[in-house]
Amino acid sequence: MDKKAQFYKTYGNIPLGLRDQIVVIVGNNEPLSWSAAKVEIDNDTDKVKEILEKLSQLGLLKED
């Protein structure tokens, strides 16, 4: 499963109450919540690669 697909699968597991909590930092110290990260990924922005890489390094995206 590619990282984008892993992200969407993981995102589905995140409780609604926690989706606005910071989960990743990108660029020049820009914190993003799960929801904000999803917006970037939905729109295939230039932040996507870094977001997915960092989430993977943190062990938050699991291979099936």
Binding site: N13, L18, Q57, L58
Partner: protein, 79 residues
């Protein structure tokens, strides 16, 4: 407690500290925190995280476990 191998990678260690700092900084200001019967300020927690002392390491490990358990759906399992 999980074995966080990532914490042995110095670069990733610094990144994780930044992330934990950002998460602690975002906590509601209406909340007061105490640990073991003593008050602790956000600044003290952040200092511990950046210094990597015993409390700081515990906070980092627990934050990682929290994020992972949530992302893996483990929090929905009972027992």
């Amino acid at each position: 407690m999980d074995n966080f191998e990532e914490l042995r990678d110095e670069g990733l260690q610094d990144y994780i500290k930044e992330l934990v700092v950002a998460r602690i900084n975002a906590l509601s200001k209406e909340l007061e925190i105490s640990v073991g019967g003593e008050n602790i300020t956000r600044e003290e927690i952040l200092k511990s995280v950046m210094e990597g002392n015993e409390l700081g390491r515990e906070v980092i490990e627990m934050q990682l476990k929290f994020l992972r358990d949530i992302s893996e759906g483990k929090i929905y399992q009972s027992g």
